[in-house]
Symmetry: C2
Subunit: 257 residues, 2 copies
């Protein structure tokens, strides 16, 4: 069965989307069959994979609000790269939480994607910078959480709330949810702030054995690749970003739950 990994951090701009699209890209080049599920109403993972959702595309909004989803495979679309598929998001997704107010079991809507676990080796889910219903739905479906942590003080502070929420979900909704690991991002060894946060992460007993050895360095090529709708590994394979995400993929493959 495929591994469903939620990429989450309530702090904004820490590299969630960059991690989803680049980890997906590297894993697909290693022969893994990958599905990216975009659960952010700003649909940056969709954009970052070069896709502009149209009116009649099936999106995660459809999966969330439709009366039923008889065949989730109908929502999966191809990208330019073999082995890398996507269920896109769109701006309507922002309205899903309000539209589902009062609906019984609304936090389990993504279970409609369960049949896809037999079709893919990995399902990577991108989330918005909040711990609202969309993120809870992702936590309900996934079995692992991967936390990008920008090596800045605010991003490290956000981990308290995130761990509380994961604990609550594990108790009340999804006992199988576990921590895949924490990946430091925007790392710059020359700056004291990066080193300080890195030290805090490595010394933090809550993440003992869970901080990836692979560190994603600050690398503007990652931001640049987004302008071309390509993961950095397909945009400039020799860049620092491509190398860092390659090392992360190795570790994720080695850490089966």
């Amino acid at each position: 069965k495929g591994r469903a990994i939620a990429v989450v951090n309530e702090k904004g701009g820490v590299g969630k989307t960059a991690t989803v699209i680049n980890l997906a890209a590297v894993l697909s080049r290693r022969g893994q069959k990958i599905l990216v599920v975009d659960m952010d109403p700003q649909f940056n993972a969709t954009r970052g994979l070069g896709i502009e959702p149209s009116e009649d595309t099936c999106t995660t909004y459809t999966v969330m609000v439709a009366d039923e989803v008889p065949d989730p495979k109908a929502c999966v679309m191809a990208t330019k790269w073999p082995g890398l598929s996507l269920i896109p998001a769109c701006v309507d997704l922002a309205g899903a939480e309000a539209e589902l107010t009062g609906e019984e079991g609304r936090e389990n809507r993504l279970h409609r994607l369960a049949p896809l676990l037999d079709e893919f080796d990995f399902i990577l889910l991108d989330t918005p910078p909040s711990l609202s219903l969309l993120t809870v739905c992702v936590f309900s479906f996934a079995r692992e959480v991967l936390i990008p942590c920008q090596t800045h003080p605010f991003a490290y502070a956000a981990l308290d709330d995130l761990l509380d929420t994961i604990g609550m979900v594990k108790e009340e909704i999804n006992p199988d949810l576990g921590l895949c690991g924490v990946v430091p991002t925007f790392y710059d060894h020359r700056t004291r702030v990066s080193r300080q946060v890195m030290e805090k992460l490595s010394a933090d007993p809550r993440f003992a054995g869970k901080v990836f050895g692979a560190v994603i360095r600050y690398n503007i090529t990652i931001a640049e690749s987004a302008a071309y709708g390509k993961p950095v590994v397909f945009f400039r394979g020799g860049s620092a970003g491509a190398g860092d995400y390659g090392r992360l993929a190795d570790e994720v493959l080695a850490r089966r739950p």
Copy 2:
């Protein structure tokens, strides 16, 4: 009467909080009386001003959910710096939207702060990276919107949705809401991606005459200052960040609505 300025961009990590605390700090040094209102449940503006909210502190959560707020001045707390006051946020604020479901006029809860407009020259409001109720409340109260735009593709793309929302609020809730301006952030003239986004902003008819001449450069001292609970202008006055926010303050002062 004081100027109420909302600092908003749904995209995460673009420098909203950095802009609120550093613009507030510079303006307070120019003799202006400043109030920062933190409407982000992650309370980074509160943390960035060196304050850790305690159980019995009055916060924006109190302002939002209390039955009444007879005297908003009771919620204002001092910071270490004269002329710079704060209404802090706390993690409970994340629950305000659910707690106010169905409440008539919930989007106008911040009007409870209206008497403070006679006490301060500027009220700067920080927002979370979403266009949910908390941000709508800020839009309902403020008269001006200041948009930090990271010079990366995803942050520029987020402006479409933001302008739509501002338009909707202007029509339905607050006709006085206007655009103070767009300030480019994380700018690095050496990178093509920064220059490309900057060109797009400058050429965009929607922002004609509204893009600040002051540009906030990528400057790691800004992130570092957050670890010490100080705005960069008080942490290292000679840094690039302090200089850039000084120039922004000049322009904001010159652009009365």
